[in-house]
């Protein structure tokens, strides 16, 4: 399961997507919308994606995690559109034979996703909004 979607993320199905009889360890990262950022109170967020490219970058990340980071199965889902505080913005699941690899691959995936996948976040406060790309 590799997707960029406006639909709410169903974390149980992200986990189910990496299930298998041979991989004992599954690590899941869930990123939720926080009520604060950089010292300001956040009311909600907008996420925008360059859809086709974002999905192709997510697929490239999954391939790299399997080829070089010991991941047996990977699921990556990012939500777009307007999100409320507490909503799940991103979910990353990795199944591996050994838990050390599952932790390392999951960490690598979320770190690299944040550096490379064309998705943008606009934070909204009581007095307006700001694209995080534009934050000095």
């Amino acid at each position: 399961m590799i997707a960029v979607s406006q639909q709410p993320i169903d974390v149980a199905s992200v986990l189910a997507a990496v299930e298998g009889p041979s991989e004992g360890g599954v690590v899941l990262f869930v990123g939720r919308v926080r009520d604060h950022a950089a010292g300001r109170t956040v009311t909600h967020l907008d996420y925008e994606a360059y859809g086709g490219m974002a999905e192709s970058e997510l697929n490239a990340l999954a391939r790299e995690a399997r080829a070089s980071h010991g991941a047996a199965r990977v699921a990556l889902v990012h939500r777009t559109g307007r999100l409320a505080i507490g909503d799940v913005a991103v979910a990353v699941a990795v199944a591996s034979s050994h838990r050390g690899e599952a932790f390392a691959a999951c960490r690598w995936l979320i770190d690299t996703l944040k550096q490379r996948v064309p998705i943008w976040k606009k934070e909204w406060y009581a007095d307006g909004g700001q694209w995080i790309s534009d934050r000095p």
């Binding site: 490219m53 991103v90 998705i119 943008w120 694209w131 995080i132 790309s133 534009d134």
Partner: protein, 77 residues
């Protein structure tokens, strides 16, 4: 040549895509310079160029049918 815009860049120009007039730029570096010149609001912005949905280097050649996008610093996750 059509150029796709996202996030703060789209807001800066009030458009999700713009048309770069004149002959298509020969490569990515020339495209970068031409869009910054054509739209002064883009001049100070940070962005990378994606060609056909992949990050491109400045020396990458462009064809008229390529899908071009300006990618400001990403902030997913």
């Amino acid at each position: 040549m059509k150029v796709l815009l996202f996030a703060g860049l789209a807001e800066a120009l009030g458009a999700r895509e713009v048309e770069l007039d004149g002959a298509p730029p020969a490569n990515v570096g020339e495209l970068d310079a031409r869009v910054r010149e054509a739209w002064p609001a883009l001049a100070p912005q940070r962005f990378r160029v994606a060609v056909n949905q992949r990050y491109a280097r400045d020396d990458e050649a462009l064809a008229p049918e390529d899908e071009i996008a300006l990618i400001p610093p990403v902030s997913g996750g």
